[in-house]
Homo-oligomer: 252 residues x 2
């Protein structure tokens, strides 16, 4: 009953847990590493691992994350794992169903529209309320555009997508608002889930490299009005494209 199709096989989540052997207890666990190296809690460290697995597509939408298996794979207690589940649930990267467990969410068309609704509100407001901007603060944006172009040249479309998303993170950061940064980060993380539903990452990311460059050019020139319009069109185009791709393959 492992591969009946309803639930994809559980991926190797414990890949970065060195197979030291069978002896339990004394061996080096995720918890040990957290205490030894980091300033973060074990739960956050576990969440980091799962977050990467989810956003990189190793755990596709619809997957159920079994407590039992993950406890064994990550060598943490159930309580710690559940704490990590909570963190990711709050980020929108997991959904919790009572007495059924946690799942990687599947973004349907409605969710995507909802997501872009808030995304437009936040990102456009950031530009709209800019009155002047220190060129120094645009440096991260220049860097992201350069990175996207470089990745595009070597046809690394995943890297292009990452650079594009960084660009928009840095765009929101211009507002200097912690809460806007958090909302934006959550939206972009959720957006990645939708990306995995699209077959060709090229058509998904390539067109937006130069649009980001255009947008940045308008910001450099201080033409914030046109910048808002460009961004608005950018986001609507991106939304439409994703919606079309999503309808193209509704077969989960």
């Amino acid at each position: 009953m492992g591969d009946d199709g309803t639930v994809p096989p559980t991926p190797p989540v414990a890949a970065d847990t060195p197979a030291v052997g069978g002896g339990p207890g004394w061996l080096r666990t995720v918890a040990d590493e957290a205490r030894a190296l980091d300033r973060s809690s074990t739960a956050e460290r576990v969440a980091d691992v799962l977050r990467r697995r989810i956003t990189e597509g190793d755990l596709p939408p619809g997957t159920r994350l079994s407590e039992e298996q993950l406890v064994a794979a990550l060598r943490v207690s159930r309580n710690t794992l559940r704490e990590a589940f909570r963190l990711l649930t709050h980020e929108g990267l997991l959904v919790h169903e009572l007495h059924r467990g946690v799942f990687v969410p599947e973004l349907d068309a409605d969710a995507l529209v909802d997501l872009y609704r808030l995304r437009r509100a936040v990102e456009c407001d950031v530009l709209r309320s800019l009155e002047q901007v220190d060129p120094e603060r645009l440096r991260p944006l220049h860097h992201d555009v350069a990175a996207a172009r470089a990745a595009s040249a070597r046809e690394d479309w995943v890297a292009v997508g990452t650079a594009n998303m960084r660009f928009h993170s840095h765009l929101v950061a211009l507002a200097g608002s912690r809460r806007m940064d958090e909302v934006s980060a959550r939206l972009l993380a959720e957006l990645r889930l939708a990306f995995h539903a699209v077959a060709s990452p090229r058509v998904l990311h390539e067109p937006y490299v130069e649009r980001n460059a255009v947008l940045l050019g308008l910001l450099v020139e201080g033409r914030f009005g046109p910048a808002v319009e460009e961004l608005e069109g950018y986001l609507r185009a991106s939304e439409s494209q994703l919606l079309e791709a999503l309808r193209g393959r509704p077969p989960r």
Copy 2:
């Protein structure tokens, strides 16, 4: 060493836990009630209790919530309590400091500015993107204005504040966006924390009853442009007033 001054005295959190007697185990606990009455988890029930205590001011900003005391008072396990902590942390009603515990956050001036920044972005965007609105959907707003006026007449300023906040919740709901509703709910919950820092709730809520009525009137007439301007001015006025009150009592 309970009242050394650094930490406010722990309030009677267990007030709604009936003192059935000394016998442990068999007595009626929060967990039992949750299972017996509700469809929600114990953690959510605990979160409900704490949420009320916090928003009503029983647990003022700066208070540390001791795990040990709350476990004893609420008769739940540490795991369940920590789960409730996570829920409230996500709502912005608690902040977590590693190895130090959870605290009721204190909103300083910077946080307030940040909060209003995002609030303006969301609420104004809702109105800006309205093109027409079914009068039926404005009914909750009419109800909130009426409730605020009634409470104002009997000088129940806390009720006025509640009605005003409901008004803005329902305003955001016009967008029909789950994510916008969630963001807005979190912002308004945080805002309540700032309200407790102001001595007179009257000056805080009374002026906005009629401004909400004016705003609603513009919506009824379909004049969305002026409505956006009115809302913008409304929010800036509210922010300025709160900032002034906050600077007036920076103590602690």
